[in-house]
C-alpha cells in the first residue's frame, strides 16, 4: 500500500513531465497558428478558468464507461476511472494552462529579429526552435515548470472527482488531508500539511539553484 506522500510525488512528477512537453508543444503550435488562434487559446486556458470539480466531472464523462475515450479503452480492458493514472490526467489537465501560457509568453517575448535573422541566414525552422527559441526562453519554461509542479502537488478537486480518494491507490496528500479532517484526525492532517509544505519548499530551492546555474 502506497503512502499519500509517495502517490503525490509519483503523480506530480509524471504530470509535470507530461505537461512540460505538452505545454511547450501547444505554446509553439499556437503562436504559429494563422487562424483560430483565439479559439485554441481559449480551449487551452479553459481548465484554469473552470472550477476543478467541473474539470473532474468532464474527465469522468470523457473517460467513463460511456465516454468517447472510455469506450475505446474498454476494448483493451483498460479503465482509468479511480486509478492513479486518472490522478495524473487530472493534474495534467489543470496544470497545462499554466505551462502553456508561461511558455507562450516566453516565446512571444523573444526578439522577433533574432528569429528572422536566423531565417535569412538559412537556419531551418526546427533548428530555430531547438537551438534558439528553447534556450532563450529557458527562464519562462522553468517558471512554467515550477508552477506546473506546485499546481500538480496541490491538485484536489478534479482528482477527487476523477481518481477518487482510495487510500493506498489514489489518495494524494491533498485528498488525505481532507479525509483526515473529515475523520476529525487533526494530528494526521497537520502531519500531511507539513510534509506537503516541505515538499514544495524543497522543490522551489532545487529549481532556484538550477536557475542560478542555467543563468550563470
Amino acid at each position: 500500500m502506497d503512502s499519500p506522500l509517495f502517490i503525490t510525488l509519483k503523480t506530480s512528477f509524471a504530470a509535470t513531465v507530461i505537461t512540460f512537453f505538452l505545454g511547450i508543444f501547444f505554446a509553439y503550435a499556437v503562436i504559429n497558428l494563422k487562424r483560430f488562434k483565439g479559439l485554441a487559446d481559449a480551449v487551452l486556458t479553459l481548465p484554469m478558468i473552470l472550477p476543478p470539480t467541473v474539470v473532474g466531472f468532464f474527465l469522468l464523462l470523457i473517460f467513463g464507461k460511456r465516454g468517447v475515450v472510455g469506450k475505446f479503452l474498454l476494448q483493451f480492458d483498460v479503465s482509468l476511472v479511480f486509478t492513479w493514472q486518472a490522478a495524473v490526467i487530472s493534474a495534467v489537465v489543470v496544470s497545462l494552462p499554466l505551462m502553456y501560457r508561461t511558455t507562450r509568453g516566453a516565446f512571444e517575448q523573444l526578439d522577433r529579429n533574432i528569429i528572422d535573422a536566423a531565417r535569412t541566414l538559412g537556419v531551418s525552422e526546427s533548428k530555430i526552435f531547438w537551438r534558439i527559441m528553447l534556450p532563450n526562453a529557458r527562464f519562462g519554461i522553468l517558471a512554467g515548470t515550477i508552477l506546473t509542479f506546485t499546481r500538480a502537488t496541490g491538485e484536489f478537486g478534479a482528482t477527487m472527482m476523477f481518481a477518487g480518494n482510495i487510500p493506498g491507490q489514489t489518495q494524494t496528500m491533498s485528498t488525505a488531508i481532507y479525509a483526515a479532517v473529515q475523520a476529525n484526525d487533526y494530528d494526521l492532517a497537520f502531519l500531511y500539511t507539513i510534509l506537503l509544505v516541505s515538499c514544495s519548499i524543497i522543490f522551489i530551492i532545487f529549481i532556484s539553484s538550477a536557475k542560478l546555474i542555467a543563468g550563470k
Binding site: 529579429n113 531565417r119 541566414l121
Partner: protein, 341 residues
C-alpha cells in the same frame, strides 16, 4: 549580379508601392522613419509578404504573386543586417558566426577564421553578445552574414545605434564588405551616410519612390519637397511663377530671377550653405534682417526674419553676425532648386 523588385503591400497608414532595379552597385533608400524603407527590405528578405509583385535576384524568382512563388527566407540567400544586429544571445561570437555557415566542417572553420580576422574579432571567439561593445556586435553580425550563403546584402540603418566615432570606423570596413557583394541595399535616414556609401539613391516617402538616380543627381536636383528635405535642403518655400524668369517665394516674401521655370512650379528650395553674404545690392540679392544666430561646431547658422536661414563657415567669417542687424544675402540662381510637389 542584379536585383529586380516590384512590390505592393497595403499597410495600415499607406500603401507601399515600389519598383526598382539594382545592378552591381550600392543602392540606398533615403527616407524618414516610417516611410516604408525597412518594410521594403523585409519583403525582399522574405520576412514580410507583399500583396502583389515580383522579386528576382540573379535570375532566381524569390517572389511572384502571379506565378504563386514565395520562397521562404531560408531559401532566398539574402543577408539582412538588422538595426539591433539580432545576435543569438545564447551563443558565443564563434557560434554566432558558424551557426549558419554553409559548407563542410572544415570549410566552416576556415570561414570562421577568415571572418574573425577580417572584422578584427580575434580573441573574442568565446565572448557572449552581451559582453561586446556596439561596434563589435555590428562586426559579428556582418561576419555572420558573410559566413552564410547570402548573395545580396541588406543593411537596415546599420549605424543608428553607434556613437559617431565608431560609425566612421565601421563605415570604412563596410566599404570593403560592399566589394564582396555585387548588390547591396542600404536603408538610412542619414543623408551624409547615404552620400558616402551609396552609388545610387532612391528617396522614399509614404510608400513611394519619389526620386531615383545617381547620388550626385539626386542631391543636386531633388525633384520633390520630401527629397529636398531628406537631402538636407532646409529652406523650402511655396512659390509661384509670375513671369518667364520670375518667381515669387510666398514664405520668404522674395521675388527671384531664375531661368527655365516650369509652369507647374509649386515650391522652391535652397541649401543653407548656398546662401552668400555680399556687400551690395544686385540680382537675387536682398537686405535681410537677422533674427537669431546659432553657433554650430564649424559654422554659424543665421536665421533671418523671413524664415530663411543661412550657414556661414566660421573660418571664412571671423565676425559674428549680430541679431537685428541687416545683411545683403544672395540666393544664386543656379543654386535654387525648383520643385513641382
Amino acid at each position: 549580379m542584379n536585383l529586380d523588385v516590384r512590390i505592393k503591400k497595403i499597410l495600415r497608414d499607406f500603401t507601399l508601392n515600389v519598383e526598382f532595379s539594382v545592378r552591381d552597385e550600392v543602392f540606398a533608400f533615403l527616407g524618414a522613419s516610417g516611410a516604408g524603407k525597412s518594410m521594403t527590405l523585409k519583403i525582399i528578405a522574405g520576412i514580410e509578404t507583399p500583396d502583389e509583385g515580383r522579386i528576382i535576384l540573379n535570375g532566381r524568382t524569390l517572389f511572384d504573386s502571379a506565378k504563386k512563388i514565395n520562397l521562404p527566407p531560408q531559401a532566398r540567400r539574402v543577408g539582412y543586417l538588422f538595426q539591433n544586429c539580432a545576435l543569438f544571445p545564447n551563443m558565443t561570437v564563434a557560434e554566432n558566426i558558424s551557426f549558419a555557415a554553409s559548407g563542410t566542417a572544415s570549410e566552416k572553420i576556415l570561414k570562421l577564421k577568415k571572418n574573425l580576422s577580417r572584422f578584427k574579432l580575434e580573441g573574442l571567439e568565446n565572448s557572449y553578445p552581451h559582453e561586446l561593445s556596439g561596434g563589435q556586435v555590428q562586426r559579428v553580425a556582418l561576419a555572420r552574414i558573410l559566413a552564410s550563403h547570402a548573395q545580396l546584402l541588406l543593411l537596415d540603418e546599420p549605424f543608428s545605434a553607434l556613437d559617431s566615432h565608431l560609425k566612421w570606423q565601421l563605415e570604412l570596413e563596410l566599404a570593403e564588405v560592399f566589394k564582396i557583394y555585387g548588390v547591396t541595399i542600404l536603408v538610412s535616414h542619414d543623408r551624409d551616410e547615404v552620400f558616402r556609401l551609396a552609388d545610387k539613391v532612391a528617396v522614399i516617402n509614404v510608400g513611394k519612390i519619389e526620386a531615383f538616380g545617381s547620388k550626385h543627381e539626386i542631391f543636386r536636383q531633388p525633384p520633390t519637397v520630401a527629397a529636398a528635405l531628406l537631402t538636407g535642403c532646409q529652406n523650402i518655400s511655396a512659390a509661384k511663377k509670375i513671369a518667364d524668369d520670375k518667381i515669387f517665394a510666398e514664405d520668404w516674401q522674395l521675388t527671384l530671377t531664375v531661368k527655365k521655370i516650369p509652369d507647374d512650379l509649386k515650391f522652391i528650395g535652397i541649401r543653407a550653405c548656398d546662401l552668400k553674404q555680399t556687400s551690395a545690392a544686385g540680382e537675387n540679392i536682398f537686405l535681410l534682417k537677422v533674427s537669431r544666430v546659432i553657433e554650430d561646431t564649424n559654422s554659424f547658422i543665421v536665421l533671418f526674419e523671413n524664415h530663411i536661414h543661412a550657414e556661414v563657415d566660421k573660418s571664412l567669417n571671423s565676425t559674428f553676425p549680430i541679431p537685428n542687424s541687416s545683411l545683403y544675402i544672395c540666393l544664386p540662381a543656379d543654386k535654387i532648386i525648383l520643385l513641382r510637389g
